[in-house]
Symmetry: C2
Subunit: 204 residues, 2 copies
């Protein structure tokens, strides 16, 4: 299929990252994801922090092309991916926080909405850029056998519950892309999804 036209500034930025990245052990496809994350943050720490499970990239490429739904935790992630989704596979984008008018007792609203998404989209690609509570709830649902996402992108950012939720995900045998430690965020989540969409598109 035709290559997605990428802006010259993006191409120049990628060339600079290629020169500065140094030695790494990523496959070419994994590196395309890492490079896009570094482009969106100007932070080379992500070279050390991003982890891909063995089948994550292959699953992403195979399922994104089918138009699989993307469940994202917050609207900033949707905003960051919707342009490229519209130019590629038109995957439905479901925003977890919008699925809950109010939070269930003792839960955040994003977590409450995520649990609702688990019921409706048990096999979607899940993308958590913001709410560690949502990632923890998703992990509990996976561990309990209620859902079997095709892929989980687990990159919430922050200081409370973030590392624990990521560790919870890492223990599950589910295709996953994780940023270890405290870093992550909506821009990182969007960059990962956008890189995977380009890889999927170019594999056709």
């Amino acid at each position: 299929m035709a290559s997605l036209v990428q802006h010259p500034i993006l191409q120049q930025s990628f060339a600079i990252i290629d020169r500065e990245i140094g030695i790494h052990g990523f496959t070419p496809d994994e590196y395309a994801v890492v490079r896009r994350v570094i482009h969106s943050t100007a932070d080379f720490d992500f070279k050390q922090a991003i982890r891909f499970s063995a089948t994550a990239i292959a699953v992403a490429k195979n399922t994104l092309v089918t138009g699989i739904p993307l469940v994202v935790d917050v609207n900033m992630v949707r905003q960051g991916v919707q342009t490229l989704v519209a130019r590629t596979f038109d995957n439905p984008i479901v925003v977890a926080v919008d699925q809950a008018k109010v939070a269930l007792p003792g839960k955040t609203r994003t977590e409450t909405g995520l649990i609702e998404c688990c019921r409706q989209y048990p096999e979607a690609v899940y993308v958590v850029g913001n709410a560690p509570t949502a990632l923890a709830a998703l992990c509990a649902a996976i561990a309990g056998g209620q859902v079997r996402p095709a892929l989980v992108i687990g990159v919430p950012v922050g200081f409370v519950g973030v590392e624990a939720a990521k560790a919870q995900l890492a223990r599950l045998e589910i295709p996953q892309i994780v940023v270890a430690g405290r870093k992550g965020g909506s821009s990182v989540a969007a960059a990962i999804v956008n890189a995977l969409l380009v890889l999927a598109w170019e594999s056709l």
Copy 2:
């Protein structure tokens, strides 16, 4: 005025940052901004990189309460600020990239839209989280006397033209908040605006 209710997880996160930040020379108001940026990125590098001009915080507090328009470069920034804007001063949010259907020759679409915003909102608060081309165009319009923004938040991220645009802004005598170097982004821009909205609200 009543304090804005902040989620307990946000308060806990702030307490962790307070313990880890170490010695700094920020005023309490400036630190409230820095802390919110670190919260949104988990990246303490911003402690060194954020620069406030002498009047930036005072201008932000005085103008946000009047409902001054916010011109933001891209939709991810709008998405990141609109909840708190709606809970405080209901400032109009104008997204530069949406003001241009197509890019002018040799310009990016965000830059083209930003130039249009300069005509319509010459005294707004300008927030650039993404497009260095938009920040450079804004700086040229300021230097040329066509616009006099109340405040410029100049925090584009990236590898091409970013440091040059920030340096261009730093030379202008205009109230400003800048992140030096390559880092920045939509989440950083949104965090700065949200912190300023809270400061403005609590000053009433």
